[in-house]
């Protein structure tokens, strides 16, 4: 009998007052009873609109049916056929704009909590299973994967399952890409990423850290070393700044730097040797998920006041609804329709050697209003004349996007990029303009989501498989 409750079973979470002071995971996950209850809300529609909303086409109604039967391992097996990183996706996917946006239950009430169920199944599996996913016998083909973020891990996993010998080249000292340096512990515990990475290793994937492709080795050298195909999943790259005065003052970070210091370099731990600005008054400029991560990290590091400064209104704010809600609950203040025009630094007129010289003491902003829609249909923010004011902050975190990393493009001939610097690929295959080289994820699209990167990794893995199997014939 279906559960006709119009709302999702609530996700148990840490209390805002407690979690604002720790880096433990915010959402605690469904119990078996919660999961069963929520699964019963699924009507098992024949048309399966939710599957079409998933970039990797997880067979959603089928895995939910297994939950209803209390066969949680069976549910995992169904998800694992399509997704290499279910425990990650269940936590960080924007389900509300993907699978859940297509759910029939969403017409009258809330859609089925697909993401929450996926997470439950993955966590259940991780807690109980010991087996390594089966791989086909080695087929003798070697493939190189550049980057160990979501697209690289997915591509590597799919190919390893098909019997390929896969080597992943990671530039940093730790595998996981944005899952490790970007997304904070309280949203995605690093032990989960580690588990997924170890799973790949157990499947025979070799992961080499400290290998900066484009520098340590070039793509041409990878081919010389016997790799028959190369997948580039090198991620987004250099942070953008606004180009306003004061962006090089002490106390101005890119979100990438702030989050990398806290996540990858563990500045959030009391015993860490990594410096970071703690406490004080923080403005995060931008409205995406990365901005929310930076703001919520600042809260946890002890800031007395944290602002999100965004030039459009709440309606246009691109971050996931859940992240915005969590940020608000944790005390982040949203300054909407607000645009920074200058960051102001301290200067002691009497002492040129004052260490405080050059530190941020405020950010000049102007009020905005929404004007005519732009080419993408979003209403363009327009400054209101004479509306300037100074926001009293001592740390500014710029979270307004990234532009692609130049290291591979500048050292590889025949790889074409678009005017933003992203690799040009054939959408159905991930093929670049260079033979045998495929690409996907943020390196192609610019900053996007974990799941779309995974989708691209999957697409490329299938295309590589097809190309290399044809070659053998």
């Amino acid at each position: 009998m279906a559960n006709m409750q119009p709302t999702k079973r609530p996700m148990p979470t840490q209390e805002p007052s407690a979690r604002a002071h720790n880096f433990d995971e915010v959402a605690l996950g469904y119990s078996e009873k919660d999961a069963l209850d929520e699964a019963l809300r699924c009507l098992n529609c024949k048309t399966m609109p939710c599957v079409g909303g998933c970039p990797v086409h997880v067979h959603i109604p089928a895995f939910i049916e297994r939950i209803k039967a209390c066969d949680f391992e069976g549910a995992y097996e169904i998800i694992a056929k399509s997704s290499s990183l279910p425990a990650v996706c269940g936590r960080v996917c924007p389900q509300e704009t993907q699978c859940e946006s297509k759910c029939v239950r969403g017409i009258k009430g809330e859609p089925v909590g697909i993401g929450r169920l996926e997470r439950f199944v993955a966590d259940y599996h991780n807690a109980h299973a010991t087996s390594v996913p089966e791989t086909l016998p080695k087929n003798g083909h070697k493939v190189a994967v550049i980057g160990s973020g979501p697209s690289g891990l997915t591509c590597a996993g799919d190919l390893a399952r098909l019997g390929y010998t896969v080597t992943v080249f990671e530039a940093l000292h730790k595998a996981g890409g944005v899952l490790v340096y970007g997304i904070p512990e309280f949203r995605l515990p690093k032990r989960i990423v580690e588990k997924e990475v170890n799973q790949l290793r157990a499947m025979g994937v070799e992961i080499l850290t400290n290998m900066i492709i484009g520098k340590t080795l070039t793509i041409d050298e990878l081919f010389e070393m016997g790799y028959e195909a190369v997948f580039i999943g090198s991620g987004a790259g250099l942070p953008r700044f606004m180009g306003i005065p004061g962006e090089s003052l002490k106390g101005v970070y890119s979100a990438n730097e702030f989050l990398t210091r806290s996540n990858l370099m563990k500045a959030y731990r009391a015993d860490s040797t990594t410096p970071i600005m703690k406490g004080g008054r923080v403005a995060v400029v931008g409205g995406g998920n990365v901005a929310m991560d930076a703001a919520r990290t600042a809260v946890r590091l002890g800031a007395e006041q944290v602002y999100i400064v965004y030039r459009r209104s709440m309606e246009e704010l691109p971050a996931r609804h859940e992240e915005v809600e969590h940020a608000m609950e944790e005390g982040v203040t949203f300054r909407l329709l607000t645009n920074p025009t200058e960051i102001v630094g301290y200067q002691n007129p009497d002492d040129k050697r004052d260490p405080k010289n050059g530190c941020v003491i405020g950010m000049v902003c102007e009020q905005m209003q929404l004007g005519e829609p732009d080419e993408r249909g979003r209403r363009r923010p327009v400054a209101i004349p004479d509306s300037h004011f100074v926001l009293d902050v001592d740390t500014v975190i710029m979270s307004i996007g990234t532009s692609p990393n130049p290291l591979i493009r500048s050292t590889t001939e025949g790889l074409q990029t678009n005017r933003h610097g992203g690799f040009i690929v054939e959408e159905e295959t991930g093929k670049t303009t260079r033979d045998g080289v495929y690409a996907g994820g943020d390196a192609v699209t610019g900053a996007a989501t974990v799941i779309s990167a995974m989708g691209a990794g999957k697409t490329a893995a299938a295309a590589i498989h097809k190309a290399l199997s044809e070659k053998t014939k």
């Binding site: 002490k250 990438n256 370099m265």
Partner: protein
């Protein structure tokens, strides 16, 4: 893991090490840098390549003990290993077509200046070197510079060795006497490079500086190493890790770089004190 195959104390605070890192050694060129981590809990620090042996697969680093990480590194011995060593990063120093070059190194910066001077010497260029230190005890690489330089000027601030004064003294003497160079390449403390640029500017000789800002990933991801170039009145943001570390000295906003370099000074001093205390405990 990356094994330390040789270690030499160049002066009381400067250490030279050869590290086994075959992939980096295959590619390294003068002017590039590496990123290392001593242990699993350590920070990532950039160090410029001071030399390499492609056949032996080793890379030479020379560093001054200035903080917790360099202290920890200096305490390691031959046969010990560090957990990460990545590179080579950054663009190599551009040497093509240079025939007469003035190399100016200051302090531990001489460790970076030396491979560049050597590369120029090996190309057949005429190399004039000026190396400066605070005092006699801190002088490093004098013999190495002498063997590859057509002329060498050794300066100390207090006059305890070589000539007394800063590196600008011989530069101004040479230039005002009508000497000309295709390029001046300077590597050392920011303040020194700022003054070298000021000394060379009136003569219109191209002047390259090697910037060494605070970095985290070193691969073009975090943006912490940004600096500002002023070109035709326009301020342009560049990233030392992928655009540098070499820049046109006439364009660099040194005052901003000096300010940014001091961002964590207090934190660094505390971290170093803490690591020293820890070391004391170990010794006891």
């Amino acid at each position: 893991m990356y094994t330390i195959v040789s270690k030499k104390q160049l002066n009381p605070s400067v250490v030279q090490m050869d590290i086994e890192a075959p992939f980096v050694a295959r590619k390294a060129q003068a002017g590039q840098f590496i990123i290392l981590r001593v242990d699993e809990e350590g920070e990532r620090i950039p160090l410029t390549v001071a030399g390499y042996d492609r056949e032996a697969g080793t890379v030479r680093i020379i560093f001054q003990t200035v903080g917790a990480t360099t202290d920890a590194l200096a305490r390691l011995h031959v046969g010990d290993a560090i957990c990460d060593f990545a590179g080579p990063l950054g663009e190599p120093t551009k040497l093509d077509g240079l025939r007469r070059v003035l190399i100016v190194g200051g302090g531990v910066g001489c460790a970076i200046a030396h491979p560049i001077a050597k590369a120029l010497h090996d190309m057949g260029a005429s190399v004039t070197s000026v190396i400066g230190f605070r005092n006699k005890d801190l002088v490093i690489l004098e013999d190495e510079f002498r063997s590859i330089s057509d002329r060498l000027f050794v300066m100390t601030d207090d006059g305890t060795y070589g000539e007394r004064g800063n590196v600008c003294l011989p530069i101004e003497r040479l230039l005002s006497a009508g000497e000309r160079f295709d390029e001046v390449i300077t590597i050392g403390p920011l303040v020194m490079m700022k003054f070298v640029v000021a000394s060379v500017r009136p003569y219109g000789i191209p002047c390259t500086v090697s910037m060494n800002p605070i970095m985290i990933d070193g691969t073009g991801m975090c943006g912490g190493c940004r600096l500002t170039l002023v070109r035709d009145g326009e301020r342009i943001v560049k990233f030392a890790c992928v655009d540098g570390p070499d820049f046109n000295g006439y364009e660099v906003d040194f005052d901003e770089a000096l300010s940014r370099g001091a961002m964590y000074r207090e934190f660094e001093m505390k971290a170093r004190e803490a690591s020293c205390c820890l070391f004391d405990k170990e010794v006891r």
